[in-house]
């Protein structure tokens, strides 16, 4: 199984996603430079965190025009599992692969800390091994993670069960105090209507080894591996 990690100029969590896929999961992984025009037969594509193009203009705004994004969009349209982490989530929103936008954190400051996430939906390739209501301890590190969408979009997301992760407290309660950035409805991550494209602000790749304080992020990677294995079994 092969993970592709897209590298935009300014990506800086590309090595971390690669390390998680390659060395923690033991899967095949490859960096794909943004000027490439194919995802090179990858089974999973990750848009990593960082500051693509320096986050100049708007976070994630310029990366959507990178040549590789045409191939990424085709991969997603074909049902391939695509995960956007942090800046990658911002790129997905800017590319219209996911609805909404990420605004500046409500206190206007960058936050780096472990937070708690509640898994809301388990019928995505990145959460199928989690259970509904499971609380994950995963770090955030962003200045612009305040999820916003208009009321209609938000209602659609709720109705179609596309809010995949919400910020919560240790016990799983979704409270304002547990919301680190002011996101509407404590939204930490969402998926598209075909559920194969998932974007989230927290960094699951930073929570895959006990020496780093948490292995709760592994469930996203384990899920996609299991999901692809299941697909393979079905199509074989």
């Amino acid at each position: 199984m092969k993970f592709a990690v897209i590298v935009f100029p300014g990506s800086n969590c590309d090595h971390d996603a690669y390390h998680a896929a390659k060395h923690v999961l033991g899967q095949d992984a490859e960096f794909i430079w943004h000027k490439e025009t194919s995802v090179k037969g990858a089974d999973v594509v990750i848009l990593p965190g960082g500051f693509s193009y320096g986050d100049y203009l708007r976070t994630g705004a310029i990366a959507q025009f990178s040549p590789v994004m045409t191939a990424v969009k085709a991969f997603a349209a074909g049902g391939g599992p695509l995960l956007g982490i942090c800046n990658g989530f911002q790129v997905l929103c800017e590319s219209r692969l996911l609805p909404g936008a990420l605004l500046r954190n409500r206190d206007l400051k960058f936050h780096c800390a472990h937070v708690h996430l509640r898994v809301e939906q388990t019928d995505t390739p990145f959460t199928m091994r989690a259970f509904r209501g499971q609380v994950l301890s995963v770090p955030i590190a962003h200045g612009e993670g305040n999820y916003f969408a208009d009321a209609q979009t938000l209602a659609e997301l709720e109705a179609s069960r596309r809010i995949v992760f919400r910020y919560c407290d240790e016990s799983g309660q979704v409270t304002d105090a547990a919301n680190p950035n002011g996101s509407l409805s404590n939204i930490a991550g969402i998926c598209n209507d075909t559920r194969n494209v998932v974007g989230l602000m927290p960094h699951p790749e930073r929570a895959c080894e006990s020496s780093l304080g948490s292995t709760d992020g592994l469930v996203l990677f384990d899920s996609v591996v299991a999901s692809l294995a299941a697909d393979g079994a079905l199509t074989a």
Partner: protein
């Protein structure tokens, strides 16, 4: 040819006798461009003219040292063929004038120093000093703090290098002159270190990175003068950082370094193109000829003088092998960077600058670099010392110990720095095995089973009271902090922040501090591999405390053995290693509770310190320790309180020996002391290991419960709820900014 008069020399901060030396070195009057080049290369910032005679006395060699001072950064061997490349540098003056950009470009500069050596930067730390956040200048100080922190975050977060630790102090003498010292560490193969050399006559010289603008002209000269009320007018001399450009440069340079097309590289930091060309030439005994018409320029109509002196950020100078130009240009093209071929290496030892083919400057590199003036400046012991060293603690009013502890915990210098470090991405690169705020910073080295611990420490108050001992204590504290994480200290870098060296009292402080650093580094076997000197830290004639800051790097052989300050669980034995003496002089207790900065800093027995470090490293690697925390600011009471924080409320019951009274027992800052915990079954082993090394070790209590209970000789002293104390501590710094927001 310009007419050189006193006013022109003054504008270039050159003394008349220095001008005579320039004329002698050239055998003629300099051109205007040449005068500018000399002025920046001979500035205090670039030439170390006041400090050089003293710095020479520092120990810089050791079995682990791969690169000592003189290159862009130092390097030590960390085993398995790997090297840690590190250095600390100041950006004090720019950060006062323009806090965000001053701090941001400081971070950018030190990162360039590290990857210039061929190392991938993996960790940033910083040492910050500001004035008090309340009082007359409180509002301005809070703005400076916010700006500096945001600038460090803005640059480090964007470029993707974790800011994993540091120290922050708030004290009156830094009100008009904050200190912003930034440390960076990178990793490289030991056999792949790159040097800033210009070898091989005929090899092409490339310029890559941001375009040259008029920003930062005479930045190095600005950093070599005192401040006054007109300092704000110098704002144009502060540069603007572009972390995205630097990220591209970093990746492109590391990619180029994997090929063997590169001869040498240097970043254009202080004194820009001038410094890079002359230093690279001087190191190789060669010359460099460039034509400024090829230098990419951001503004039109720039003169050769401006181009040579600009300190625009994110620029590198490279010497590559002739015939490999295509390969080099292709790598930079990949990263959308333009590599401009600006010149060539020559054999004549000259820095030759042309403008559209005609020579505008021609100076022997040795005159700029090696023959820069060296001053043995007059020194005299300051008169204030006799006065302030007198101190009788019995004259102080009594304070209830618990009130004293809570006041210390709620002071911003001791309080939690979470408000600051949560603005820094301290986890990117997934190596941070000890999170910020938990003790020395620890990052794992993925290619090995090892980890590196780092700590930056200084104590300006101690150095004000006794510069030599204060500097020794700074070395000892940084080394001890690293050892508390379980790491063997193997190398150090220093940032020496002082006032105006033309004043004999300041020069004396400087010389004494350097002596102290040398003595301590020799005794603890931590050689100095590089660093930085920042002089003229004065505003309106008022100097800062003499403030040497030490950055120490250590190796933990087994990353899984890394320790933090926090208690690990209940029912562990709490052991005090080292002895408490009646040493309240210069303490945080005196300053915070009584507003007194007097007395003598604690004594330091370097042999004892070395044995203590050896014990900590040995006990940690043997797995007999659960936690370790150095006793320093605020004494053992603060240490114990901090051990209970971030544990989910694990308390302790401790009884301290009453030998010199309650205040000494709780708040003395005697050196070479560490509070450790051990599981009960490991206690005997620990005590035996301590006895073998001659380290006093006394079981003072046990972890457990939810209260912090300390008695002295059985008499009640402190009994408070851990969470309540932790709340005070957590809000100490953050509270200043919440108040401001409301």
């Amino acid at each position: 040819m310009s007419t050189v008069d006193a006013a022109l020399l003054d504008r270039h901060a050159l003394k008349p006798d220095e001008y005579e030396r320039i004329v002698a070195a050239l055998g003629r009057e300099p051109s205007f461009t040449e005068l500018g080049i000399f002025s920046v290369m001979w500035s205090e910032h670039c030439s170390y003219k006041s400090s050089r005679v003293h710095l020479r006395t520092l120990p810089t060699k050791g079995s682990r040292v791969l690169q000592g001072p003189g290159e862009n950064a130092g390097a030590v061997d960390i085993g398995d063929g790997m090297a840690a490349v590190f250095k600390i540098e100041s950006h004090n003056h720019p950060s006062f004038i323009e806090p965000y950009q001053g701090a941001a470009t400081g971070v950018g500069g030190i990162i360039r120093d590290i990857f210039t050596m061929g190392a991938r930067p993996v960790a940033l730390l910083n040492s910050l000093r500001f004035g008090p956040m309340d009082g007359a200048h409180g509002a301005r100080t809070r703005r400076i703090v916010e700006g500096v922190v945001a600038g460090i975050a803005g640059y480090g977060n964007s470029i993707g290098i974790p800011t994993v630790g540091g120290e922050i102090v708030f004290e009156e003498p830094y009100t008009g002159n904050p200190l912003v010292n930034v440390f960076c560490l990178g990793l490289s193969r030991a056999d792949a270190l790159v040097k800033g050399r210009a070898d091989g006559v005929g090899n092409p010289v490339y310029y890559v990175g941001a375009k040259t603008g008029r920003d930062g002209i005479h930045g190095a000269t600005m950093a070599s003068a005192e401040f006054d009320e007109k300092s704000a007018e110098k704002r144009p001399a502060v540069q603007v950082g572009d972390p995205f450009m630097e990220k591209l440069l970093l990746e492109a340079c590391l990619e180029l370094m994997k090929s063997d097309a590169l001869i040498g590289v240097q970043d254009m930091g202080a004194a820009g193109l001038t410094c890079a060309t002359s230093e690279m030439g001087a190191r190789s005994g060669s010359g460099i000829e460039i034509d400024v018409m090829h230098v990419p320029q951001r503004e039109s109509g720039m003169t050769p003088y401006e181009i040579m002196l600009s300190e625009s950020q994110e620029r590198m100078l490279l010497v590559v092998k002739k015939g490999r130009e295509r390969e080099v240009e292709e790598i930079f093209d990949k990263w959308d960077l333009h590599a401009a071929h600006v010149g060539v290496v020559t054999g004549d030892g000259l820095l030759r600058v042309k403008d559209h083919g005609s020579v505008v400057a021609e100076i022997p590199n040795t005159a700029l670099v090696d023959d820069a003036p060296v001053y043995n400046r007059p020194m005299s012991r300051p008169a204030y010392l006799d006065e302030v060293q007198q101190f009788d603690p019995s004259t102080l009013p009594r304070v209830h110990p618990q009130d004293a502890l809570l006041r210390l915990l709620s002071s911003p210098t001791i309080g939690s720095k979470r408000w600051v470090y949560r603005q820094y991405d301290h986890m990117v690169r997934t190596n941070t095995v000890v999170l910020a705020g938990m003790g020395a910073a620890v990052i794992r080295v993925k290619e090995t089973s090892r980890a590196l611990a780092m700590s930056v420490d200084g104590n300006g108050r101690y150095c004000y009271l006794d510069p030599r001992r204060g500097a020794m204590l700074a070395v000892a504290e940084a080394a001890r902090n690293v050892a508390c994480a379980g790491a063997q200290p193997i190398g150090a870098t220093n940032c020496l922040n002082f006032g105006n060296p033309e004043r004999p009292e300041i020069m004396w402080q400087f010389a004494e501090a350097v002596q102290g650093i040398g003595e301590a580094c020799r005794a603890l076997d931590v050689p100095i591999t590089g660093g930085n000197v920042s002089l003229y830290n004065e505003t309106d004639g008022k100097a800062i405390y003499p403030t040497p800051v030490l950055g120490v790097v250590g190796v933990i052989e087994d990353a899984s053995r890394a320790l933090t300050r926090a208690f690990h669980g209940s029912d562990d034995d709490i052991v005090l290693l080292g002895e408490t003496h009646e040493e309240l002089g210069g303490s945080e207790f005196l300053r915070t509770l009584h507003g007194v900065v007097r007395g003598q800093p604690p004594r330091l027995d370097l042999r004892q310190e070395r044995a203590l470090i050896d014990l900590l490293v040995g006990a940690a690697s043997a797995g007999v320790l659960q936690s370790a925390h150095d006793c320093s600011d605020g004494g053992i009471a603060v240490t114990l309180a901090e051990c209970t924080f971030d544990t989910g409320g694990i308390g302790c019951e401790v009884d301290l020996p009453p030998d010199h009274g309650v205040e000494t027992a709780l708040f003395s800052e005697s050196a070479s002391r560490v509070v450790v915990t051990a599981a009960h079954q490991d206690l005997d082993r620990l005590l035996k290991m301590a006895a073998e090394r001659g380290i006093p070790a006394r079981v003072i209590g046990r972890t457990g419960g939810t209260r912090l209970r300390i008695t002295v000789g059985g008499q009640h002293a402190i009994d408070c709820d851990v969470r309540e104390a932790e709340q005070r501590w957590s809000g100490a710094l953050a509270g200043h900014f919440q108040r401001q927001a409301s």
